[in-house]
Symmetry: C2
Subunit: 317 residues, 2 copies
């Protein structure tokens, strides 16, 4: 299996530059003195999450050879593909489970996409039909080299802004972001330690890396975490990257995730969704060593009621 | 009286570049279709406010001729001057009223500044004594060409990122930010309309511009607004700039300000202090015309309890 290279990531950066926010790496004065904290706020992308990067790279790569792209997702990936397709003048067909909240269906339609609702367990069948009908190309959420290379551009930017970084913390779920960012940092900042961070309640990647093979957790187990963007598991492709580029995976508790959401709002002046805050939660455990530490705030799409609840449930941290 | 020029602002940009965050101009998809909304999040500066820009330019200009700088402020300007002085290896002496909350005193000390507490009404006398004792230089919060030029760099960046901007909305209090940004936009984007925005309860600048002269509002009146960073009044210098560069001043109600804080959190994924949110409140009034509209989110320093209160007091907007 061929892994994504730093050259792939550099090419992705050129491709997506006109479309994606070059997020600043923010010096967070509220970090610890001996390990200065830097935040990469991907929540400031137009759809509120890093998924823009991979979607724009993958859709940008296939345009010219197709007029239709297809994705199945009820979350940030759906909107990212819809957004990228509209920017490149392609049609997007997004397969969503019938139980998807209407607000997310409408948000995807507002971006110009056609939404196809599927019954439980039927999304792959439905997506295959849409592919056959349209002659389009599937854009997967993480299991694709162009998606991994696109997500890696966030790591390229960290290396540009802070070449001497000592530690990088990245949320892990399907592993696209951690694979791409890890590849970029490994290539450009050989001194850096690179950690994935995931919820303890969806800790399949930590267990898999220890076991040296992918260990499957049931979706019922993974669904327990509030971090609804971190309930996927790595594919064969992303797992091969993670084995190569990560120094380890840290697991964080639900309370630690909620505390990190509060810390972002009260100290960092940023709204993070629970999935987006896990890297900061990992930093707060304190076990990743001294020196400049960069954390990726991967997304900010949180329901107002959830944000209010988390901000009011405890004293500021 | 000499006004600040675009060349002064360009020189300021060079001077402060290594020290200040080059904030992105964010395309806010949640704006209105016929007048796309762009947000300049100065809340992401290290001290959480645009004041960094003016302080770094003014302190950077006097270094070499002095080893001490003096400011009186209990707010963002105090921390900005302390931060800039530390970066340039100068001593900062900050005069604060004795009733300043201890958290703000400590935050300023943490930046390496000496804090001198003054009794009510004595701050100018105390500052004069500190100046005489140290042979230092005063860095005022807005009434100085170097401070205005520094704040103007935010406008330079808007012009670089969106040269075709049709409308720019800027919070107004002492007028340093609006003077600088207005000067930059007027020079580089002659097609743009430029509006100041201030709370109705501290609407001295709107009244002054209508009257063609500075009209004084009592501090008791101005203190009524929740926007505690917008309770100052323009100086002769900044008022001369505002008369020249603004197309008008919009006043916003307290409810409109609170609603804008919610909109930033729930839609923009950004934490704004009330003073920082007034430009968005002005945009929501809808009277500034069609086309690309840039608003400056000038600061994000809000007490956690105030943020919780504003987020919970109404349905999301």
């Amino acid at each position: 299996m061929e892994r994504v290279t730093i050259d792939d990531i550099r090419a992705a950066a050129e491709r997506i530059r006109p479309h994606v926010v070059r997020t600043p790496l923010l010096a967070a004065r509220w970090g610890d003195a001996e390990r200065p904290l830097w935040v990469k706020p991907e929540s400031l992308q137009p759809i509120g999450a890093f998924k823009m990067r991979g979607a724009f790279n993958a859709v940008g790569t296939v345009r010219g050879s197709t007029s239709d792209v297809v994705a199945y997702s009820s979350g940030n990936h759906a909107q990212a593909v819809a957004y990228a397709a509209a920017a490149f003048g392609l049609r997007a067909h997004i397969v969503m489970p019938r139980e998807t909240p209407n607000i997310k269906v409408q948000a995807t339609r507002d971006l110009g996409a056609r939404v196809v609702l599927s019954e439980a367990g039927q999304r792959e069948t439905v997506a295959a039909e849409v592919l056959a009908d349209t002659g389009g190309v599937m854009i997967p959420p993480f299991d694709h080299p162009d998606v991994i290379a696109g997500q890696g551009t966030a790591g390229l930017e960290i290396a540009e802004d802070l070449p001497s970084v000592r530690t990088v913390l990245i949320p892990v779920s399907g592993g696209g972001l951690a694979s791409g960012v890890g590849t970029a940092i490994r290539a450009l900042c050989p001194q850096a330690r690179i950690f994935g961070v995931e919820p303890e309640l969806a800790g399949d990647t930590a267990e898999s890396l220890r076991a040296g093979r992918r260990v499957d957790w049931s979706i019922e187990d993974r669904n327990r975490t509030i971090a609804d963007g971190l309930r996927s598991q790595p594919s064969e492709l992303t797992f091969a990257h993670l084995q190569r580029v990560l120094d380890g995976v840290i697991t964080v508790t639900e309370d630690e995730i909620r505390s990190a959401v509060r810390e972002y709002a009260y100290r960092g002046r940023l709204v993070a969704e629970p999935s987006g805050a896990v890297a900061l939660a990992g930093y707060r455990q304190g076990g990743t060593g001294d020196g400049d530490t960069a954390v990726i705030l991967s997304g900010g799409n949180i329901e107002p009621s959830t944000l209010r609840q988390i901000l009011t449930e405890a004293a500021p941290t």
